[in-house]
């Protein structure tokens, strides 16, 4: 039975890798990423106005790749206006040996050397109808321009989205493509981040989920969430947790809750699930989530969960 579960998980992973390569991923049920201008209030749902994502290109991909951004400008009816649109957000792509290292997880935002690596491409977007609800492609990049990391299974690139000015929220998403003009997934590619800034769906019936990966050194995790606005509940699923409730943040504050990790959860993905308030609709809710291990090191959130979506495995006993 376990063997079948592994096979199913593998198939799931491969199939996700084959047919989708966006961040956020469709199965996460998160509509968009969000980065506010540097003058915004953190109470609007962004604690540092900077989002760092990494993409992994498997060795099998030898042709050029493109990092595409949907709706990179801050304007139009998709983005979150605070008065007149006045925001500029910069997107920078980094490669080279320093774009990712084992200590990267300690650098979550502007407080560290978040722009490490070799700058491959950079572009700032303000209000620009040309890019409103359109895709902008960075690249082409030779995969070897990224840093090859054996344990991550390929070449890594970093993309930093940073609010340069203004106070509006730039709402966008990424796609890792082999084409500059359309979204053609890189087979076996993936995205991950150590700090997830995202926009929740407005529809109360939608449940969003993100997937941190727990390595074999982890004995406990601290789940932190920022500016959840008490919009329902946050739960954790894994092979050993069947919807454990997590403390939730209110307006403009961080809440941290620690959970033990049991042996069977090591080297597996856990799922953090966001269920919106079913009675009171909260619109345009933005949230930031970090999961750290017992050393305070952040765990990566993969948009395509490693090993597949975790399935709770009860331990039946009789007495």
């Amino acid at each position: 039975m376990k063997k079948y579960a592994l096979i199913i998980a593998f198939i799931l992973r491969v199939s996700l890798g084959l047919y989708s390569q966006s961040a956020p991923e469709i199965d996460e049920n998160i509509p968009y990423l969000i980065t506010f201008g540097r003058n915004a209030l953190t109470s609007w749902g962004d604690d540092d106005f900077c989002q760092i994502f990494y993409c992994v290109i498997p060795p099998s991909q030898t042709g050029p790749v493109y990092i595409r951004v949907y709706d990179p400008d801050t304007g139009g009816d998709l983005d979150e206006a605070k008065g007149e649109f006045n925001t500029v957000v910069n997107f920078s792509i980094f490669g080279g040996n320093d774009c990712w290292s084992d200590t990267t997880a300690l650098v979550l935002s502007k407080t560290g050397n978040y722009k490490s690596g070799y700058l491959l491409s950079s572009k700032s977007f303000g209000v620009d109808p040309k890019y409103d609800k359109k895709w902008y492609s960075f690249g082409p990049f030779n995969p070897s321009e990224g840093k090859y990391v054996e344990k991550l299974g390929g070449h890594v690139f970093k993309i930093v989205a940073q609010g340069i000015s203004g106070d509006d929220g730039n709402i966008y998403k990424y796609f890792l493509s082999t084409s500059p003009v359309e979204n053609i997934a890189v087979e076996g590619g993936n995205w991950f981040t150590y700090k997830y800034h995202f926009r929740l769906p407005d529809d109360q019936s939608h449940v969003s989920q993100i997937y941190p990966y727990v390595d074999d050194r982890t004995i406990s995790i601290q789940v932190s969430n920022f500016d959840w606005d008490n919009d329902g509940i946050i739960r954790i699923f894994s092979v050993a947790k069947n919807g454990v409730l997590c403390d939730v943040s209110g307006e403009n504050n961080w809440v941290v809750r620690e959970f033990p990790i049991v042996p069977e959860e090591k080297n597996s993905t856990i799922e953090i699930q966001f269920i919106k308030n079913q009675t009171l609709q909260v619109r345009n809710n933005n949230v930031v989530v970090i999961v750290r291990n017992q050393y305070g090191v952040s765990l990566p959130f993969y948009v395509v969960p490693i090993g597949g979506v975790p399935v709770y495995s009860p331990k039946i006993r009789m007495k």
């Binding site: 449940v207 509940i233 739960r235 699923f237 050993a240 947790k241 069947n242 919807g243 454990v244 409730l245 269920i275 399935v311 709770y312 495995s313 009860p314 331990k315 039946i316 006993r317 009789m318 007495k319």
Partner: protein, 395 residues
């Protein structure tokens, strides 16, 4: 010869002249009522001159009925054959089987033990007891006890010398390895012809340890069981739970337990009673109470239920004074012991019995009925013992 008092015997008297010949007569066996006798004697008794050295005059088995104080209707056993010996008959207490010894062809060697079952008032074909019991040498003098034990004499099995006394028992259709009666009975001389009372307390056997064939009596030392366990009640009711769930602060998760045959229980901890021992499959489905999604689908748990390894006494718990009560010793769950003896104690010491026994209590009160079991000797010669007890109230 009849007993006078506890230790004296009356003078010898001939059992009956009508079944006495000038040749060899006996040994004999009687049915339960004592009105039918089977005995061995020489087939030819017509010669007026007795010739006990005539080896052609073989022994045969004969029967007679006691009618109006006289043994009449003397008949030869169906399978007697003048060319071979048929002797030392022994009826089982219920009269349904007769054991005997014979050197007829088809045996293992020498004199072998056989039996015939009685069917439709006729004796079935003789059955050889097989190589576990019979040897190349001689097995004879069977004696069938009330509770299935068969005593016999053999000079083929390992013993002290000459004929020695053994017992065996048919368990689940197979004869157990003969058990050698110890030195309290057997000697280096010939020991044979054992008979014993129904409670196995007193008996007699023949021996030539004093150079002549003599009858010896013996009394069994009472068998004691130092420890008797109360019968533990089998439990088939259990609480099922998810060990992981107990540690979790989780809400709105629906646990659905499928015990088969349409029995579905809902709850994080559920109780279920199975009908009895056996292998069961329990399937757990966990449903997210918020989203309706299935968190875990039909996760199987296999439960193997066994009865407690013990003997049981099946009986009513309450009885009445002067009314017979039935008791049954159930040993199907006593593993590791091939039960050879059932000993029952109704308050007056352990006495030999069988798996089924009746007892009549003469006084009101609370009785602790005990069942002691003896097992076949193991390879080290150790007899395994176990004992259970049950409380019975007599009103």
């Amino acid at each position: 010869m009849t007993r006078k008092g506890s230790s004296l015997w009356s003078h010898l008297k001939l059992l009956a002249t009508e079944i006495t010949t000038a040749f060899n007569d006996g040994p004999a066996t009687f049915n339960e009522k004592g009105n039918i006798i089977y005995y061995s004697r020489n087939n030819s008794i017509e010669n007026s001159m007795r010739n006990i050295t005539d080896t052609t005059n073989k022994l045969g088995i004969y029967s007679a009925e006691l009618i109006d104080g006289k043994w009449t209707n003397i008949k030869p056993f169906t399978y007697n054959n003048p060319l071979y010996s048929f002797c030392t008959p022994a009826l089982t207490p219920d009269g349904g089987r007769i054991y005997f010894s014979s050197d007829m062809p088809g045996g293992i060697g020498g004199m072998d033990l056989y039996y015939c079952d009685r069917r439709n008032n006729e004796w079935d074909l003789p059955v050889n007891l097989g190589p576990v019991i019979n040897t190349q040498k001689n097995e004879s003098f069977p004696y069938a006890c009330k509770y299935g034990k068969l005593y016999f004499a053999s000079d083929g099995h390992k013993g002290f010398g000459g004929k020695d006394l053994f017992y065996t028992q048919e368990i689940n259709g197979k004869w157990i390895e003969p058990v050698h009666l110890d030195s309290a009975i057997n000697s280096t001389a010939d020991d044979f012809g054992l008979v014993i009372d129904s409670t196995f307390e007193n008996g007699f056997f023949s021996t030539n340890r004093r150079k002549t064939d003599d009858i010896f009596s013996f009394s069994s030392a009472p068998i004691e069981f130092t420890e008797c366990d109360s019968i533990k009640k089998n439990n088939y009711c259990f609480t099922f739970y998810d060990e992981k769930q107990r540690l979790l602060d989780t809400v709105q998760v629906i646990y659905q337990w499928d015990f088969g045959e349409g029995i579905i229980c809902i709850g994080k901890e559920v109780k279920h009673c199975f009908p009895g021992p056996g292998n069961y499959s329990i399937k757990l489905t966990i449903i997210d109470g918020l989203t309706g999604d299935t968190i875990a689908k039909k996760v199987e748990y296999k439960a193997e239920l066994e009865n407690i390894k013990q003997a049981y006494i099946n009986s009513e718990d309450i009885g009445m004074v002067d009314k017979s009560m039935s008791f049954m010793g159930v040993t199907t769950d006593v593993k590791g012991i091939k039960v050879t003896d059932y000993l029952w104690n109704f308050g007056d010491g352990f006495k030999q019995g069988g798996p089924f026994i009746s007892n009549t209590f003469k006084k009101k009160g609370e009785y602790m009925v005990k069942l002691g079991l003896l097992g076949e000797k193991d390879s080290l010669g150790v007899v395994h013992k176990t004992c259970v007890m049950k409380k019975v109230n007599i009103n």
